[in-house]
Amino acid sequence: MPENNEKDWPLWEVFYQPKNGKPYEHAGSLHAADAENALQNARDVYARRNEGIGIWVVPSDQITASTPEDMGSFFDPASDKPYRHPQFYSVPRAVKKRS
């Protein structure tokens, strides 16, 4: 992650919830002086076209992320285990309707 110049505001990650009950999605990032400022900026930068009903802002430096080197050990073991996916079960019609 690029280091912030001291004169710059800290970086924040913005997440929005498209609909009630849906998970929050990453929208992008922005600079802001503090949390309230970040929330307002997120509204102006990412929620101008009716994108969602809720916003989260998180200081970018508070996110712990996996690295590209983790890819092998994190994700490869899952690639040959199709039985972990639920697609072999038929979904009852009543359940299908709800989703």
């Binding site: 505001w9 922005l30 600079h31 802001a32 002086a33 503090d34 309230e36 400022n37 307002q40 900026n41 509204r43 102006d44 930068v45 101008r48």
Partner: protein, 259 residues
């Protein structure tokens, strides 16, 4: 001043135009920040706010044209009137100044609009009421955003503190007019379509004073000399040149159409 009596219809048109003119002129001023904001995020926030204000003006002009019923379109009010026919507050036409000045002005205007709209949201006229309720949501945000910046700049660095204090000191002479009221207001109040500004003067003053206190700013003298006359078409030297820029294209091509 003419002594002829004002009809209810005349008063309604004037009332709508005062509201609309404030918003068009301030919206135009705020839009001057587009591409010049202190940071990208704030540039967008200011452009959004300018668009909101111009949008409010647009719907108010449209309704004024409908009430007037002389075959004018809303553009007539924005583009084909001269400065002395505009009845916006002088506060709204002042040059954008620095960011502190823009924020200070926005806070004074949005806080006033907020209380005014809160009272107007129960007017009798259904269409007017609908408009007010729609705009109020955005007004609330403008107040929240500008108030937050007043706190940040006031209680920020020495330079930001000095800049916003100077901005308020300079703007103070124009705040008296916010609470101007005349026969137009009287008629609108008696029709149940207007609001008596004196009913929320104390509340507004309290919001200003508590915000200043929190922002470590000094409230200028409420009893100092105040400008008057804008609701009768008296303006500062700044409105004319601004209108020239705003109206030039439309007047050069009067038949031009968006559609």
């Amino acid at each position: 001043m003419s002594s002829e009596t004002l009809t209810t219809k005349d008063a309604f048109i004037k009332y709508l135009l005062r509201l609309a003119d404030d918003r068009l002129i301030l919206g135009q001023r705020v839009s001057e920040w587009c591409g010049h904001g202190p940071v990208l995020e704030e540039d967008l926030a200011l452009a959004n706010m300018a668009l909101d204000l111009i949008g409010h003006a647009s719907s108010l002009y449209e309704y004024a044209a409908e009430v007037e019923d002389k075959g004018h379109e809303k553009d007539h009010f924005a583009y084909f009137r001269d400065d002395y026919e505009f009845t916006n507050l002088q506060l709204c036409e002042l040059p954008k100044g620095d960011f502190a000045f823009t924020i200070a002005r926005q806070f004074l205007f949005s806080s006033f609009s907020y209380f005014q709209y809160e009272k107007l949201k129960e007017v009798n006229d259904e269409q007017f009421q609908g408009m007010i309720n729609k705009h109020l949501k955005e007004v609330k945000y403008h107040l929240r955003h500008s108030r937050d910046w007043v706190l940040k700049l006031g209680d920020g660095t020495e330079e930001s503190h000095n800049r916003i204090q100077e901005a308020f000191d300079e703007l103070w002479i124009y705040v008296g007019e916010l609470f101007y009221s005349d026969e137009v207001d009287e008629i609108m109040i008696s029709e149940g379509n207007g609001t008596d500004v004196s009913t929320f003067h104390a509340e507004w003053k309290n919001l200003i004073e508590t915000t200043f206190d929190e922002a470590t700013l000094t409230v200028p003298d409420w009893d100092q000399f105040m400008m008057t006359g804008s609701r009768k078409g008296i303006h500062t030297e700044y409105l004319g040149p601004m209108l020239a820029q705003l109206q030039f294209l439309r007047r050069s091509h009067p038949e031009a159409d968006w559609q």
